[in-house]
């Protein structure tokens, strides 16, 4: 074994393989085998271990991962966890001892050259599994300080959200897991691509793909490559698929940027016939060296062919239905996110509004049973269609916030890894507009005791005309929102009670979100060079849109769901008017069948019911740990939200305990002293709206609605993410 914590490719021996990781070892083997690879340095796991031990980060990781069981975490929480760990890596000063060991070899090899800093985790590129892309890589890094900075970011990515998702397969273990890093000279090729020594789809073939510029765009599907299928034994070209060559990926500030391809290149394949032969030859050489067919990345710089990476072709296909695959697709590039934004703003939201409006115009009562059955079925389909579109476009767009957050944290290095959220907040979300309209109705009630009196008696007659008009315009705009089948416009008593309760409370607090936002924005922008400022501003704009649309698109989805519910409600009315007795829960399709067939028998519904705490005699929860989602401390009685009535009965100063806050129910938030939610994460609606109003909030408490009894005094510690059940004897702040 070679000693030292930074090894050049020539120094790496066979027995160093476990230390330098798959990527580093493959480079060393290729260099020795005579392939042209960029000069590189392997930083061994000993450096990682020294870093986490000297900084105390090892304990930080243990604490973060110990917060709750992984099985109970949602992807948003996993992202939060890895963001906190990443921030610990960013915040800790680089141990002096380690710096002194790393600086000389880095300076000797990369003094005035751009380098790529890549992960090389042991087992990352094995033949059985491919974990490519779970850890971070950084390109175009120049200067020793910047190299050290990025080495620690790559170390942090041992705990990236993607890696945590595959923790079992990776065998991630705080005590044992380590990370080697490859620092490699950048080769900015004019043409790049991948080559498969053996086609995963046909063992008699090889495949070459090529683009102009860098190959990252090809990997994530942004730029379509030219593709050649070759005979594996002779290298003869069987077919050539020509791409629509319009764009190219080039290095730019803060990463890479998509640019239009020069017109003279558009009609020309990126590789000449003899170059196809040369790249094919590469796969043969690599196969001889490694003893198995390889999946390679290559690039041409000034007509010299470089091998950037080589790994065995992954044979094991991932199981279908593995939701983690879908999660990995959520990591999007800036360009991809901008495309999503346009799609949502210009197409999906108008279509959702149109679809909901169209359904609202159909009067359901006069329909015959058969026609109504058809209409319910149609609406169920529409609902499913929009659920799918939401998952396909809207959820991935939430990554805009995450992308912004990452860039913000890298540049600003704030102590609080979620500081960036304050910069995104205050956007004019529809739910906030709705709440503001409610606030103005409430303001009228506060000023007018007579009005309050008539509302208490649930009488519309004699109401102040100004108030009535405002109420009607509120209902016209937001009356059709639905949450758990509750609609404002269905039950005047419920809305009056809610407004009266709100009137008891003083005007809502405003969160700290808006304060200092300008200063924060300037701080962010000041970390960019003149030429980068436009990119930074665009990214901020994208992050804000992502934050706002995350709420807005839900509101529109809620409008569609409300129409689905309206048709089902009408179905119930029809059936009841025929004397049918309905079970308490009727599934949509059951309703359709019953309307079509008078003899249809409802299946006994296994009512979802409420999961009760297993009440072992004498055992109860006293303190529960979740995630701190909005800072502050609040004490109050709980209102556990299980059904719509609970929501409308909300009293000022209560603690809102629920499974998941949706934008369609956030109107009660200004009434709440504190919020506790089962669903976890900083980027969920509950957390966002809580911060907007400055209300302490803890998210991610498994089984919150069953473990926390209703009407009990609790303390919500939004600083530390804990909920204390029962009276506390002392003031906690």
């Amino acid at each position: 074994m070679t000693s030292g914590i930074a090894l050049s490719l020539a120094e790496i021996k066979t027995e160093d393989r476990p230390r330098v990781g798959g990527k580093g070892f493959a480079l060393a083997v290729m260099a020795r085998g005579g392939l042209r690879v960029p000069p590189a340095l392997c930083i061994t796991p000993e450096a990682y271990l020294e870093f986490v031990a000297a900084t105390g980060i090892r304990e930080t990781i243990l604490l973060e991962l110990g917060r709750k069981s992984f099985e109970d975490m949602r992807w948003e929480e996993i992202w939060d966890t890895s963001l906190r760990i990443r921030n610990a890596f960013l915040q800790s000063p680089f141990p002096e001892n380690l710096r002194e060991k790393l600086i000389p070899p880095l300076e000797a090899m990369f003094s005035r050259k751009d380098a790529a800093v890549r992960s090389s985790a042991p087992g990352e590129d094995s033949a059985k599994t491919s974990f490519a892309g779970l850890h971070e890589s950084y390109i175009h890094i120049r200067g020793t300080d910047s190299l050290l900075e990025h080495i620690r970011l790559v170390w942090a990515s041992l705990w990236s959200d993607r890696a945590l998702l595959y923790r079992k397969e990776l065998g991630l273990d705080v005590e044992k897991s380590t990370m080697a890093v490859v620092v490699q000279e950048m080769i900015a090729g004019e043409r790049s691509g991948v080559a498969f020594g053996r086609n995963p789809l046909d063992p008699a073939q090889a495949v070459i793909e090529a683009v102009y510029g860098l190959n990252q765009a090809m990997v994530d599907g942004t730029v379509e490559p030219d593709r050649w299928i070759l005979k594996r034994d002779t290298g003869e070209v069987i077919s050539h698929h020509e791409a629509k060559r319009e764009k190219t990926l080039a290095y730019a500030l803060g990463g890479v940027r998509l640019e239009p391809l020069a017109p003279e290149l558009r009609g020309k394949p990126p590789l000449e016939p003899e170059e196809i032969g040369e790249v094919f030859g590469l796969t043969g050489k690599a196969e001889t060296i490694f003893g198995s067919p390889q999946d390679m990345e290559w690039t041409y710089r000034r007509n010299l062919l470089f091998t950037l990476q080589s790994r065995p072709i992954t044979t094991g296909s991932s199981e279908t239905g593995d939701v983690r695959r879908w999660y990995l697709t959520l990591h999007r590039s800036f360009e991809n996110l901008q495309g999503l934004r346009r799609k949502i703003e210009e197409e999906l939201i108008p279509r959702m509004a149109e679809e909901a409006g169209g359904m609202a115009q159909i009067s359901l009562a006069p329909l015959s049973d058969l026609a109504l059955a058809g209409e319910i079925e149609r609406r169920l389909q529409i609902g499913r269609k929009w659920d799918d579109l939401y998952k396909e476009f809207c959820i991935p767009f939430a990554h805009g916030m995450r992308l912004f957050g990452q860039v913000y944290n890298d540049r600003v290095k704030p102590e609080n890894p979620f500081e960036f959220m304050d910069l995104l907040g205050g956007a004019d979300m529809i739910s906030v507009q709705r709440n503001r309209m409610m606030e103005s109705l409430v303001g009228k009630i506060r000023k007018n005791p007579r009005l309050a009196k008539s509302l208490r008696r649930v009488r519309k007659e004699g109401l102040d005309p100004g108030f009535l008009k405002a109420l009607e315009s509120f209902l016209a705009k937001f009356g059709d929102q639905s949450w758990s089948k509750a609609r404002f416009d269905r039950n005047p008593k419920a809305i009056f009670t809610l407004l009266l309760n709100m009137a008891l409370q003083g005007p809502p607090r405003r969160g700290s979100a808006r304060r200092g936002q300008k200063a924060l924005g300037n701080k962010f922008l000041s970390r960019f060079e003149e030429g980068e400022k436009k990119f930074a501003a665009d990214l901020l704009d994208l992050g804000r849109a992502s934050y706002r649309l995350r709420d807005d698109d839900n509101i529109y989805l809620g409008k569609i769901q409300a129409q689905v519910v309206a048709a089902a409600d009408e179905g119930k009315k029809h059936l009841r008017s025929r004397g049918r007795v309905l079970p308490p829960q009727v599934e949509g399709m059951d309703m359709v069948r019953a309307l079509r067939d008078p003899r249809y028998r409802f299946k006994k519904s296994s009512s979802p019911g409420i999961k009760q705490e297993e009440k072992e005699a004498g055992i109860r929860s006293r303190q529960l740990v979740g995630q701190p989602a909005s800072p502050g401390i609040a004490t109050g009685k709980t209102r556990v939200i299980l059904r719509a009535e609970d929501l409308f009965a909300f009293q000022p100063g209560e603690i809102l305990v629920c499974d998941a806050i949706e934008p369609n129910m956030t109107f009660v938030v200004p009434l709440a002293a504190g919020i506790v939610e089962r669903r976890g994460g900083m980027l969920i609606h509950g957390a966002i709206i809580a911060r907007e109003y400055g209300i302490p909030c803890v998210t991610g408490i498994p089984d919150a609605t069953s473990l926390i009894p209703k009407g009990t005094p609790v303390t919500v510690d939004g600083f530390l993410g804990i909920v204390i059940i029962g009276e506390t004897a002392l003031p906690v702040k």
């Binding site: 105390g56 610990a88 401390i633 510690d717 530390l720 204390i724 002392l730 906690v732 702040k733």
Partner: protein
């Protein structure tokens, strides 16, 4: 004289090697033990720990500041009977604030850097236990007492 030097040295080694200790408080005469992450000041006269104010131990020490702490290095093996060292400290605990909190937090976090966020929370109290007496036990039955003045 030699024993006194030895007890200080033993305590010093114990405090450097260990991270957790058992704090004893009481309420209405009912003893209550809790595990805390501790740090000792250089002169060994103070033991510091952090807790949120909503905890039972904090309520207990607020109503009676007389507390105890057990610090030891046992490894859950038979050899412990011969090798393990344990110290019982008795003293008075109170929450520290202002400049004193800042100073002690710095010392505390040097030992437990991963508790930075916890200690920074406005709901977290930093508690200083002023030790009045230590009882140190080693080689199973050797017990020494140090009255800290």
């Amino acid at each position: 004289m030699k024993e006194r030097q030895q007890i200080k040295q033993i305590l010093n080694e114990l405090f450097t090697s260990q991270k957790l200790a058992v704090l004893g408080t009481h309420q209405g005469g009912q003893p209550y033990g809790s595990l805390v992450a501790f740090a000792a000041t250089l002169d060994l006269r103070n033991l510091v720990f952090a807790t949120t104010r909503a905890t039972r131990k904090f309520a207990n020490l607020r109503s009676d500041p007389r507390v105890s702490m057990v610090l030891d290095n046992r490894s859950n093996r038979v050899a412990d009977f011969r090798r393990a060292v344990a110290a019982t400290a008795l003293g008075r605990a109170r929450e520290v604030r202002g400049k004193e909190r800042e100073r002690l937090a710095k010392m505390y976090l040097a030992k437990h850097p991963h508790l930075k966020e916890f200690v920074a929370s406005p709901t977290c109290a930093l508690v200083k236990m002023r030790v009045e007496v230590y009882y140190a036990v080693w080689r199973f039955q050797n017990v020494f007492e140090w009255r800290v003045k």
